[in-house]
Amino acid sequence: MNPAADPPRSGSPPPLLEFHDVTVAYGRRPVLWNIDLVIAAPCLFGVIGPNGAGKSTLVKAALGLVPLAGGSIHFFGRPFAAVRRRVGYVPQRESVDWDFPVTATDVVLMGTYPRLGWFRRPGSRERTLARECLARVGLADVAGRQIGRLSGGQQQRVFLARALAQEADVYVLDEPMAGVDARSQDLIFRVLADLRAAGRLVVVVHHDLRSAAEWFDRVALVDMRLVATGPTADVLTAENLQRTYAGRLDVLDELGRAVAGRGRTT
């Protein structure tokens, strides 16, 4: 990372999260293409796009979980590795084995591990915090239950409680509404709105356009490239959605024709 390429901005504070010319490729296949995105102030920020558009890759890249082919990503004007304690993370629910022998409380306590460091065990302060976080997502009464015996919505709320226990300034959530009942979704959005009201930035990968329009202050429409970004009402226009989702249909049509053509010749 060349410091000259990224001069400290004088006067105004650096943006909370900045993607500069980010390209990500899995092997030789690019999945994100020259993304430039700046989130300056705390808000409830939605990353919206069709399946396979690279939404999850975008946040994974921000958290250093996938390597960049080019570009840079900064939190608070600094690389993620330098500020990871200030960033809370909710991975996709399918990323873990829910049969693992841990309780809801055990999982929430994992949010306090970065502060504890190597070999130190959670103490009473951490346990109190975990209890509070579980209560905030409405799970106080299932704190001792093995995580596999929770409903999908409850599992997702356990992950959210773990992120709350990180006591971060920026929260990154990867598809937190996938496989979640209406009540859980509503509850999760309310907790996220509270975080915003407390001055935090909340970035959510999300697929449902209706609830996106209802809840997010700002959104980014992503389909490999950044299609549009800004206040939700300005971005979720018929034209932008057409550009984001219709392109995909064309690709599918072409693919369909190609397959059909090959089927005839062989």
Partner: protein, 418 residues
């Protein structure tokens, strides 16, 4: 030395050493299983034979520390080869494991049989490392094994928090700054150490079983890692000690198979009898759900007809249909409701209460049961509504709660959103 010949100091030390090895194998193996590295451990185990043979050829000595040193190098080399084959040759996990296991084990067998065939002095007996031969252990050997086991257990206990985090959610661990790869390597290295330490007791072919079976059995009994570890340790200890004792009683038998068979017995018992996760418990739960559900359907069906009551087969036709399993569930539910006093003969004079299964008489619901039935019908309509209109919510949130039929559903979905 048979046990019957009297328990010598040496025997006592060996048994204690083997007990420590069994305990540590269960504890360390728990993370091998939770991190899904059981097969990697098996590849490392099979590679140890080549390590033993090479150590003997290089030094010309047969001391256990020397041979096990060679085994450890070979086990770690096999794990390295596993990573290499997977990354560089871009081979899938299972294929890479099979390649490394097969090649390294082949090498070991070739070396050992070569040594035996050429009659290299002192080379006889290396094949004991194939299936384990604890009777050959000296007290000094056993103390060495116990010491290594104690260190392995201490390392796992010290890193319990880190190992649990990385095993459960590597993505979250990485995002929050934990060196996932380092912890992973530490875990598989510990597994390699345990495989080597377990070698004299169980042998290269079977030692994995000592590292894998006790943790899997322990998982059946508990939902917490801190409970699972000592339990797996205890199962491993019992397997090792009983297996070694059995082989001492019949000195011709290799130790490994006996240790594994004892572990398998513990696993089988756990599979059947563990509370909640055991086969019996799950079957009982299934029966209880059937019972609660079918009684509810019977009550709801019986609530509809008023006046002079209803016949048993009328309700059966509505609830059960014709297949045998449905009839069995209906019969059970009907009998239970009669015993509870929820179903009573409509005209007690005509049909005796001692004829609960009797098809002839007419039946009615007791006053209390009528309330229950109305409640059930109301709930059933609510659930039907959810399943019909919000299938996604129904899939994620409806759960049949036992044993209280009054709260059969622990549903988030029926509650209003705030």
């Amino acid at each position: 030395m048979t046990l019957a010949a009297g328990v010598s100091y040496n025997t006592l030390v060996v048994v204690a050493g083997v007990a420590a090895v069994g305990f540590a194998a269960g504890v360390v193996g728990s993370f091998g299983v939770l991190r899904r590295r059981a097969l990697a451990g098996d590849a490392a185990a099979h590679a140890t034979l080549a390590g033993v043979a090479l150590a003997f050829l290089a030094t010309g000595r047969r001391d256990l520390p020397v041979l096990l040193g060679g085994a450890l190098v070979a086990a770690i080399a096999a794990l390295g080869a596993l990573v290499l084959v997977r990354r560089v040759a871009r081979t899938r996990d299972d294929a890479a494991t099979a390649i490394v296991l097969g090649v390294s084990f082949g090498l070991g067998i070739a070396l050992v049989s070569g040594i035996t065939a050429r009659g290299i002095p002192g080379g006889a007996g290396l094949e004991q490392f194939l299936l384990g031969h604890a009777a050959a252990l000296t007290a000094a050997d056993a103390l060495l094994l116990a010491g290594a086991s104690a260190v392995a257990v201490l390392v796992v206990v010290a890193g319990l928090k880190e190992a649990t985090l990385v095993s459960f959610d590597p993505a979250f661990a990485a995002a929050t700054g934990w060196p996932v790869t380092l912890v992973d390597y530490a875990l598989v290295t510990l597994v390699a150490v345990m495989v080597v330490v377990g070698l004299p007791a169980a042998g290269a072919v079977l030692v994995t079983a000592l590292v894998v079976i006790p943790p899997v059995a322990a998982r059946q009994w508990t939902d917490r890692v801190p409970t699972m570890l000592p339990l797996a340790g205890g199962f491993g200890l019992a397997s090792a000690v009983v297996g070694v004792a059995l082989s001492a009683a019949a000195p011709r038998l290799a130790t490994g198979p006996l240790v594994v068979l004892v572990a398998a017995a513990i696993f089988t018992a756990s599979f059947f009898f563990a509370p909640r996760r055991g086969w019996l418990a799950r079957r009982r739960e299934q029966r209880a759900v059937e019972g609660v559900w079918t009684r509810g359907r019977v009550l709801a069906a019986a609530a509809a007809p008023a006046g002079e009551g209803f016949l048993r087969h009328e309700i059966a036709a509505r609830v059960a249909g014709v297949d045998a399993a449905a009839r069995r569930r209906f019969d059970g539910a009907w009998l239970a409701l009669v015993r509870e006093g929820a179903l009573v003969p409509a005209r007690p004079a005509a049909t005796g209460p001692a004829d609960p299964a009797g098809a002839g008489g007419r039946w009615r619901l007791s006053t209390e049961a009528r309330g229950r039935a109305a409640d059930w019908s109301r709930r059933m309509r609510a659930w039907d509504e959810i399943v019909r209109t919000r299938p996604a919510d129904a899939r994620t949130s409806l759960t049949i709660d036992l044993p209280d039929p009054g709260t059969i559903f622990r549903d988030d979905a029926t509650r209003p959103p705030h």
